[in-house]
Symmetry: none
Subunit: 377 residues, 2 copies
DNA sequence: CCTTCGTTTGAATCGCCCT
DNA sequence: AAGGGCGATTCAAACGAAG
């Protein structure tokens, strides 16, 4: 933890009197922020509109309709309008921040580049960009792009000289003794955590998982800190702040979100001080697809594979497929096709010449796993 | 893969004559790009500098204010100059790209937000942001931030209407049957792959791993495509392009990098054309009208078709249309109508009784395609 | 009670060709 | 150039029903 010396509470009684602590302010976030005292907030967490530009109606392969984010609050006429909006709220947030305060903002490729550039232009000082890897993202239904499996967060200090809070030791401890990295793995917000209206209508289209906010607040605030969220939504920031013994100020324009947030936060019992530990997400299993052996130079395109008795042969192609006579496809599929079998485990079926002897290609996968494990250790 | 029909080579002899194919151009990338013919390149891969030293040779319009400039002015100036530089090379790259061309750019949080915003402002169309997760990143020695464990790539089309190359099926196949996601895991470039001067002095400070370029080129180019790298460095793009049977054009200002790249690429033996061949996607298969199944006697008029659960039935008519109650039309249209759906793939929806079991009529299409392939072989 | 299987769903800039 | 038809396309997780 930086700034070790200071153990005094971050919010004095007089400050609290001026600040609308643990409250939701209803209305425009820029106006509300401008009405708050300058230099009064330790952290801003912001989940602004992403400015998605969606075409009409996307359907899944089973013809069901995808529930799009088509709310009015996400509509902007142009990049210029979005930029003006972004700079206005970032400027207001900067005024409200303490000199050693910091800001988090989350976004996707639709908006995050504009937000990041605006932060730099407004003299915020970028500390990290952090990637939220989604364990269960929505697939790309049309097969036209890479699965959009992550969102980006930016962590920035109010200015270059800010000495921001970073609970390095606690994070390292919670991360099995190694430094916390800039890529975080969490599931999206589903199940019981997801707020619903009655049967199954989402209260908010883009509710963030509490685990994400846990990590953010645990990493970059101290107990008693004041966290301002100008796009409060259904109050994930407030809910986690309360659990972790931090104060929140929420600002939200849409009253249905406000009432849901109030109810949600009221039901929360703050955790005891000891319980304020980071949630440890399950470690990402290093799954090694066959294609990565080629990418990483362990098998060259054009290499010949054979089965253990050399009855069948196949050619490794650059794109990770095999070709054997008229057959092409994955290691498993071609293995099945040449045998006339229904299925086949290509990892154990296909072999490689290694010093005059045949070895199943599975040994390469073992090699790569060990290499990856060594590297990350 | 999009752009189904075209199986012709991407570079004709006449185009090659005009393009400095498989060559490194020494000098400023903007000047060199402006000297290339417009619309001539399939892909740009760019690893631009982000740590520009702009203080030298920098002329401000108002010389008298330079002395009085404080940190903020400096900061603004460097961002402004970086932006000007970025927009200049992105504009030059866009001119050189074919209408259906695309661009990749890699960067870190220091520059990527400015690059991304510039791309949007210049009417590129963002397709994905991709995260390169480093298996072995440099730790944060001072313990003041999260370990900077990733870099960001942006994949963008020349414009919104570009029909870019994306080898979806090959990627999915090489990824053990699931879509390739936007987060990629690779080790950084070390070991034998890392170019060194003599003992252990790195030739280039930020040499990218070949695995990264391998995935980029495999995903978004076809054999024979021309890939332009305006910041060629030690030629990773050229090396991988040569391996994969793609053409490259490198541009590099620093002659030590150029000589290292030349030597490196000369030593590479390209994979065989056979090994570089990509999996043929379904979208590229020849179209078979349903009527031809009837013409060729594979289905008799009057045959009854049902869906996989026998909920719906339809009658094949001699003209290639279906009839089901009040509905009539193509296999797709009637499939949609009986379900009350917007759309339907009749080939997979409608089934035929075959020896007591149901088989989709798509198997008949497969038969016909195989027959045609044999005839033309 | 547990297991298995089917259904639902999530910040999404998600075709191509022919007429 | 705009519209309509063909026909290609999904993964992990949670939940509920069925066995």
């Amino acid at each position: 933890m930086l700034r070790n010396g200071r153990q005094a509470p971050r919010v004095t009684a007089s400050e609290e009197a001026l600040l609308p602590i643990d409250t939701i302010l209803v209305g425009d976030c820029i106006e509300h922020m401008n009405a708050l005292p300058a230099g009064s907030v330790d952290l801003v967490f912001a989940d602004p509109p992403y400015n998605l530009q969606l075409s009409e109606g996307l359907t899944r392969p089973d013809q069901s309709r995808v529930d799009a984010v088509d709310d009015d609050w996400d509509k902007f006429d142009s990049f210029a309008h979005y930029d003006a909006f972004t700079r206005a709220w970032l400027k207001a947030a900067r005024r409200v921040l303490k000199p050693d305060g910091a800001l988090w903002v989350i976004g996707s490729y639709h908006n995050i580049f504009r937000v990041g550039a605006a932060l730099q232009d407004l003299d915020y000082w970028l500390l990290n960009d952090v990637v939220w890897r989604k364990a269960n993202p929505m697939p790309n239904f049309r097969g036209t792009r890479f699965t959009n499996a992550h969102e980006t967060l930016i962590w920035a200090a109010r200015d270059r000289k800010s000495r921001v809070t970073f609970n390095y030791e606690a994070l390292k401890l919670a991360n099995d003794g190694t430094q916390m990295r800039s890529d975080w793995l969490f599931p999206i917000c589903t199940g019981a955590e997801r707020l619903k209206n009655g049967e199954d209508e989402k209260v908010h289209p883009t509710q963030k998982p509490e685990a994400l906010l846990y990590r953010v607040l645990n990493a970059t605030t101290r107990p008693g800190d004041v966290v301002l969220d100008p796009f409060f939504g259904t109050g994930t920031t407030g809910a986690v702040a309360k659990k972790l013994g931090r104060h929140f100020i929420g600002i939200e324009r849409e009253t249905p979100y406000v009432s849901a947030a109030l109810k949600r936060i009221a039901a929360i019992r703050p955790a005891s001080a000891e319980a304020v530990a980071t949630t440890t997400p399950k470690r990402a299993e290093p799954r090694i697809p066959f294609g990565s052996l080629i990418e990483q130079g362990m098998i060259a395109p054009g290499t010949q594979l054979v089965d253990d008795r050399r009855r069948f042969a196949a050619l490794v192609r650059a794109d990770g497929s095999l070709a054997s006579g008229p057959h092409q496809g994955s290691i498993h599929r071609v293995g099945a096709l040449v045998q006339g079998a229904e299925a086949c485990n290509g990892w154990t079926f296909w072999h490689l010449e290694r010093g005059g002897e045949l070895a199943p290609i599975d040994v390469l996968r073992t090699d790569i796993r060990q290499r990856m494990a060594l590297l990350s250790a």
